[in-house]
């Protein structure tokens, strides 16, 4: 009884959680549907290791790639996209699901590989549009309410910014770059030539850029490689004008984080990021650092740009000729690790190949769902009819257990779709319909065991107790096997197989819960209800139908001749079961029964002596213990 109440409380709690979620959060009453039911585009990408880098595709690279793709899609404004990795190791795939019909640009965004660049910093400023450093704290509130778009015309103060003027003044300083044959201002003297790159337009864009607005921090595509590029830092703490690309991210061969190495060779206490470049990268970076080291701040910085945002902008302290740079600063252990990760992503030795791009029509999906549910419903009705024929009134217990299982499954799936982003796919629906059979089987195993015990002559309460003890083992081990199948598939499989395995595993667990916390407690209660306990003809547990007829041994040599429908509650619980038709070659009655029959002037002793075999030690088969 207590278990029933507990189960009820759990169900109500889940329903309440969903109701609360609907009211105050983003939960929905119905579970969210996957692409095949809702319509949309699914792109499956296979990582391809790049030829020149003999890198392996590891789960780390995959998860980094997913982060980058997610950032790009979010930046493009497509809501509710789903990006997940499936499989592992060299056969891993990235599955990108986009609702609706995304534009060609969005698709391109997903499929291009990550872009990391090193650019020189031309200007750096506080993130807000009003560039005066003192106003930065209040700036977000006062000027140009949510001036998100760079060209929103939020007219910054005409009084030129401190940073801008300093940059302007820094520009004329001749930068001794190798190719410093500046043809009279016709071309840039170097990538750090702010006078050339920072045109009034760029300056205006820079001034109006508001990096404290989240919208500008979603990243996107890097600007053209040979022009200035205005962007924010990834954390939104400052904004930059960057020069043209000096070094492509693919030249990074490794990046790692660790404690700094002091000049005497011992390990220090400061967290740093170590960067290693390949041959071409070393040459280019040596040239860049040679130039930058002579610049004044902020021009001596180079920015690491990943997908349109500045990940880090370290200043150059010395010329780095060997391609092994150390970025130091006020890193914590985790921030150093993050930067190292991002840097190594620039060196991801993979590009992505579109394996399949599938547009899924919502009409077709919903038709399949409708018809599938209809089929499931028809199947369910047939199951109900069959159980009622087979188990009579007891069939209603099957039906109510199935209904309860359906309710719990629905609630769990809705909860998961809210909390975990689970989506119901068509194979998932098929899994649910298949689960009807496996769930119902638990009840069938249980009921058949109870009937077996009744056939052995037990009264109903004892039959339920013994039948449960035996059926429980069978149910647990068979469900365990089923769950194993689902788990193995879920862990190893990809694509639609996963959705199916998930629902199969889920329903197996729910099946166990229902049998343990609903069907069995209900059965215990029902076994005390006179209708079942007396073995009513329609109860499905009628001992007479099960071959236990007429006489009943009630202990101490007494036999009761039961009228139809008599209760068997007067029997002692552990009485030896007696009556059943012809077991081991003795188509007769017990001694007590024969005596009772003789008393009634009946047929007398049955033919005896036809049992040819020697006796055996008691075994468990009669179910007597």
């Amino acid at each position: 009884m207590r278990t029933l109440v507990t189960l009820g409380v759990v169900i109500v709690a889940m329903a309440a959680a969903i109701a609360a979620g609907v009211t105050w959060s983003k939960a929905t009453v119905a579970p969210k549907l996957a692409l095949d039911l809702e319509g949309g585009t699914e792109i499956i990408l296979t990582p391809v290791p790049e030829a020149q880098a003999s890198g392996q595709v590891t789960s780390t690279t995959i998860s980094q790639a997913i982060n980058v793709i997610r950032q790009r899609i979010d930046a493009s404004g497509v809501a509710e996209s789903q990006i997940s990795s499936q499989g592992s190791g060299s056969s891993a795939k990235i599955v990108v699901s986009l609702p609706g019909q995304p534009s060609q640009d969005t698709v391109k965004l997903v499929t291009t590989s990550a872009q990391m660049e090193f650019r020189p910093v031309l200007q750096q400023a506080a993130p807000t549009p009003t560039p005066s450093p003192t106003a930065s704290a209040t700036a977000g509130a006062t000027p140009a309410p949510t001036a998100s778009a760079p060209a929103a015309g939020s007219t910054p103060d005409a009084t030129a910014t401190a940073a801008a003027s300093s940059a302007a003044s820094a520009a004329p300083t001749p930068t001794p770059s190798p190719s410093a044959t500046a043809a009279a201002g016709a071309g840039p003297s170097s990538p750090s030539d702010a006078a050339y790159y920072v045109t009034p337009e760029v300056q205006k864009q820079f001034d109006s850029l508001d990096c404290s607005n989240q919208k500008n921090l979603t990243g996107g595509v890097n600007g053209p490689a040979d022009a200035a590029f205005v962007t924010c830092s990834q954390d939104g703490t400052s904004k930059f004008i960057l020069g043209p690309v000096e070094l492509q991210g693919r030249h990074i061969s490794a990046a790692s984080s660790g404690l700094n190495i002091l000049p005497n060779g011992t390990t220090g206490t400061e967290w740093v990021v170590n960067l290693k470049l390949d041959g071409q990268g070393t040459t280019q970076f040596a040239a860049t650092t040679t130039r930058l080291v002579k610049e004044t701040p902020p021009l001596n910085q180079f920015a690491v740009v990943l997908d349109g945002l500045v990940v880090s902008a370290p200043a150059v302290n010395e010329i780095i000729p060997n391609g092994q740079a150390v970025i130091s600063g006020s890193f914590t252990r985790s921030s150093a690790a993050t930067l190292a990760n991002q840097l190594s992503f620039g060196s991801l030795p993979v590009s992505f190949q579109v394996e399949s791009q599938q547009q899924i029509s919502a009409t077709l999906g919903s038709e399949q769902l409708q018809k599938g549910l209809l089929a499931g419903l028809i199947g369910l009705v047939l199951v109900v009819v069959y159980s009622l024929i087979q188990y009579r009134v007891l069939g209603f217990l099957t039906v109510s257990s199935l209904v309860l299982a359906a309710i719990i499954t629905y609630l769990v799936i809705t909860l998961l779709s809210w909390l975990q982003g689970y989506r119901l796919s068509l194979p998932g629906v098929a899994g649910l319909i298949v689960a009807i059979g496996i769930t119902a089987d638990s009840f069938i195993v249980y009921f058949e065991r109870i009937r077996d015990e009744l056939r052995d002559g037990r009264p109903l309460t004892a039959a339920v107790e013994h039948g449960w003890a035996r059926a429980r083992r069978t149910i647990i081990v068979s469900d365990a096997v089923n769950f194993m199948a689902a788990a193995a598939l879920y862990v190893l499989a990809i694509g639609s197989v996963r959705g199916f395995a998930f629902t199969l595993g889920l329903t197996t667990l729910i099946d166990l819960a229902i049998v343990f916390f609903f069907t069995h407690p209900m059965m215990e209660i029902l076994s005390k209800v006179p209708f079942f306990a007396s073995g009513h003809r329609l109860s499905g547990l009628d001992p007479r139908r099960l071959g236990v007829e007429g006489f009943r041994y009630v202990g101490r040599g007494r036999v009761v001749v039961e009228p139809k429908g008599a209760a068997e509650a007067d029997r002692p619980g552990q009485a030896w079961p007696t009556k059943q038709p012809a077991a081991v070659g003795v188509p007769g009655m017990t001694i007590a029964e024969r005596r009772a029959a003789a008393r009634r002037g009946g047929t007398g002793a049955p033919p005896d002596g036809s049992a040819p075999t020697p006796d055996e030690r008691p075994t468990t088969e009669g179910g007597e213990h």
Partner: protein, 364 residues
């Protein structure tokens, strides 16, 4: 009908009526063997029909088409690519699926527009898909990995639970039997093998083992302590278990098959090609064969393995000797071969087992 079925169940339980399934195991083995051979032949002769997920190519789906004349789609594709004969299937009540070999993206657009015009729908109602040839193969490769891992796990768990590796072996043999026959039927029907089919096959794994475990659990229970008695042989006890679970197996199979049959029916006759239909066919056949194999293949096989154990051979000798002796006591001529097995059923405590069962002095 139900009353008859119920009485039948009673008789099976008590052993009054018994089908000697285990005894005729050679016969069942040959039936299963024949089925498997037929399935293998079918897998080669018509062979499985790989879907576009395994072939690779472009696929167009026209939804809401006013008419479903398939020739139009063939014409549209032929206009773009002269050698290509498109594969057109109807889906659902108003959709068409057109499959071609891989087309360039400009061709894809042309075909989309052409199809939209041909069927009088807007271009947006024509979806296009490009599927690489490795996609389906990858799914299958994963599935095979899953299968191997699952088999190892199952073998371990069953060996631990039943304390006997023979049951695990029999269950796994039955599993392969089920999968092969299902695949054979699938090949014979000729529907395309899609990832959904693979899912169906994978489910059969779980279901086949599940069903076998339920039957084996009854066998285990019935044969518990079998060597400590000399009334019945292991085969007879196992056969009783099979007979006793027959009602449960039938009930379960019916209940499990009814919803699947529902999907299969709607899938095959209303929806046409698609996920539901493919899964349902694999499941329907697999569940049917799975229920058959747990009773007629797995258990007899387990018994055949078990009867080779020295303990079981000794038991068999003991039982037969006991029966011969009992027959001799009754004063009848004893011919060892003629001795029929007694009615095998659960012992009924309190029943008189005849004078032969009384304690007596052993003959010297």
């Amino acid at each position: 009908m139900a009353a008859g079925f119920s009485q039948w169940g009673n008789d099976l339980y008590t052993g009054k009526r018994s089908y000697d399934i285990v005894g005729h195991r050679r016969w069942w083995f040959s039936v299963s063997g024949l089925l498997v051979v037929a399935a293998i032949v079918l897998l080669f002769a018509p062979g499985l029909n790989p879907g576009i997920e395994f072939r690779g190519g472009s696929e167009f789906v026209v939804t809401g088409a006013a008419n479903r004349d398939q020739q139009k789609a063939v014409d549209v594709v032929a206009a773009v690519d002269h050698q290509e004969v498109a594969l057109v299937t109807t889906m659902g009540t108003s959709s068409l699926r057109v499959q071609t070999r891989e087309l360039s993206s400009s061709d894809v657009e042309v075909v989309r527009e052409g199809l939209a015009k041909a069927y009088g729908v807007s271009v947006n109602a024509v979806t296009s898909t490009y599927i690489g040839p490795t996609w389906g193969a990858d799914v299958s490769k994963k599935a095979v990995t899953g299968l191997v891992v699952f088999l190892v796990l199952v073998a371990l768990v069953m060996t631990l639970y039943f304390r006997n590796w023979r049951m695990a072996v029999a269950a796994i043999v039955a599993l392969f039997h089920d999968i092969l026959i299902t695949a054979g039927v699938y090949a014979a029907v000729g529907w395309e093998v899609t990832p959904a089919t693979v899912i169906g096959f994978l489910t059969i794994l779980g279901y086949s083992i599940y069903d076998t475990v339920v039957v084996f659990d009854k066998v285990r229970e019935n044969t518990d302590g079998v060597i400590h008695q000399s009334r019945y042989t292991y085969s007879e006890k196992a056969n009783l278990a099979v007979n006793q679970t027959l009602v449960r197996s039938i009930n379960t199979s019916v209940v499990a098959l009814l919803p699947v049959a529902g999907i299969l029916f709607i899938g095959a006759f209303v929806l046409g090609a698609g996920t539901l239909r493919d899964i349902a066919l694999a499941l329907f056949v697999g569940m049917l064969v799975g229920a058959y194999s747990s009773i007629f293949l797995a258990t007899p096989l387990e018994v055949a393995l078990r009867e080779r154990e020295p303990e079981m051979i000794a038991l068999r000798k003991r039982v037969l000797a006991g029966r011969a002796q009992a027959a001799g006591v009754d004063g009848e001529p004893v011919a060892a071969g003629v001795l029929a097995a007694p009615l095998v059923g659960p012992l009924r405590p309190g029943a008189h087992q005849g004078s032969a069962a009384q304690p007596k002095r052993r003959r010297k």
